[in-house]
Amino acid sequence: MEREDIKSIIESLLFVADGPLTIQRLGEVLEGVEKEDVRSTLDELQAELENSRRGVRLVEVAGGYQLRTAKVNADWVKKFLGGRPARMGRATLETLAIIAYRQPITRAEIEAIRGVDVDGVINTLLDRSLIRAVARKDVPGRPFLYGTTPEFLQLFNLKDLTHLPTLKEMEEITLPEIPGEELPLESGEEC
């Protein structure tokens, strides 16, 4: 297969895919094509879409590759799609930030940081699949420990958790370590 053919096939697969496509999955479909070639073809495609200012861009998100609309066209796309579901409120965003940086973390630990009850917010985040219970903490009551999901990475356009923006350092103050062992859930897996 010629390189241009591979690129064309990959573009088609990305177009029909439901979510971010991993190199692994692309490799399975494109039998006989080296993973390295898949990766470099993806890079090429990404650069082409970017450089020719196309309406869709190829982004690396949540461990895979996905076609997304260009940010400059956001208003037009929104006009076309219509609708206006509730935007993410401060409480939701702050709670999500705490979970993202401190995962795995219990409800009580989040409440200690925010200074308010977070039951409602946690339920919203669970409903929206942005967080999930990943384990139980080995302390009395065995509370759930929460972590973020691949949907979280997709929503915030993150390749993986190591790409979270760096937390600002707190001057002169060091944070205490959160004690307690973690017990993995049977179904729990890393995202």
Partner: protein, 256 residues
């Protein structure tokens, strides 16, 4: 009174404290505890005026502040066999504020990313999330309460207590406010209260405004952090009749 403002709009006592610290332009690590405590308690009072459900957390923080304030007044006891020996009574609060501030910043950073369904979309994309118009910032509840306190402070003190049931309903005020917005694109928050004479009417006007925000008929915003608070019609004022067809927020609060 059953008209309640949902508590989620308050981010909690730490948020209120950070707001006061910022407003007073003081350092988190060296909080003038007397001033901040006083302003914190004053804000709670305003919140209670409106029967806002002042959550237990706010009261716990009030107690903490008063406790710190009293400890600051005591001389440092060097010989005391205390585990808190020699530490600034504010240290724990400072630690919590800094940590909370850190996550507020993190939340801001996350929000600035290219958000799916706000900035970028995928095929079979979910409907767009609502985003605020550029150039404006949302007014926080605390700023709103501070502005309201200014209005209340301007009122003449109620010298005589007139026993008179003046029927100004929240609904009437909502209609009035929407009428204003038909003639003017924007109105100033303070001008809402220009003609208002009594505390009760201030409260009713304020509640009417909150009701309209709740049903998304109006928006409240500032163009800059210290700028005047302004009010404008939200989507289209033609939705107004629908708004007024909503259940009267006052229906179940007669006799207050």
């Amino acid at each position: 009174m059953t008209t309640r403002v949902q508590l989620e709009i308050f981010e909690g006592p730490l948020d209120l404290l950070l707001h006061l610290i910022k407003k007073n332009e003081v350092s988190i690590t060296d909080i003038p505890i007397a001033t901040i405590t006083e302003q914190y308690l004053a804000t709670l009072e305003v919140m209670q005026t409106f029967n806002l459900d002042v959550a237990g957390e706010f009261l716990v923080m009030a107690a903490t502040l008063i406790h710190i304030k009293s400890r600051m007044l005591l001389p440092m006891a060097d010989d005391e066999d205390d585990e808190e020996e020699g530490t600034d009574p504010r240290a724990e609060l400072v630690r919590r504020l800094l940590e909370y501030q850190r996550f507020k910043d993190a939340a801001d950073q996350l929000e600035r990313r290219e958000l799916l369904t706000r900035d970028v979309f995928v095929r079979s994309a979910a409907p767009a999330e609502e985003i605020p118009a550029p150039g404006f910032r949302d007014v926080s509840v605390f700023e709103l309460l501070t502005a309201l306190k200014r209005v209340l402070d301007r009122l003449p003190k109620d010298v005589v207590h007139e026993v008179m049931l003046e029927k100004i309903t929240v609904r009437e005020k909502m209609t009035e406010l929407l009428d204003h917005l038909r003639n003017q694109a924007k109105i100033l928050f303070e001008s809402l209260f220009a003609e208002v004479k009594t505390r009760m009417e201030v409260v009713v006007t304020f509640l009417a405004m909150l009701e309209l925000v709740k049903v998304r008929a109006i928006r409240i915003f500032q163009e800059e952090a210290t700028g005047p608070i302004q009010i404008e019609a939200a989507a289209g004022i033609e939705n107004a009749p629908a708004v007024l067809a909503m259940p009267d927020p006052e229906e179940d609060q007669h006799g207050t």
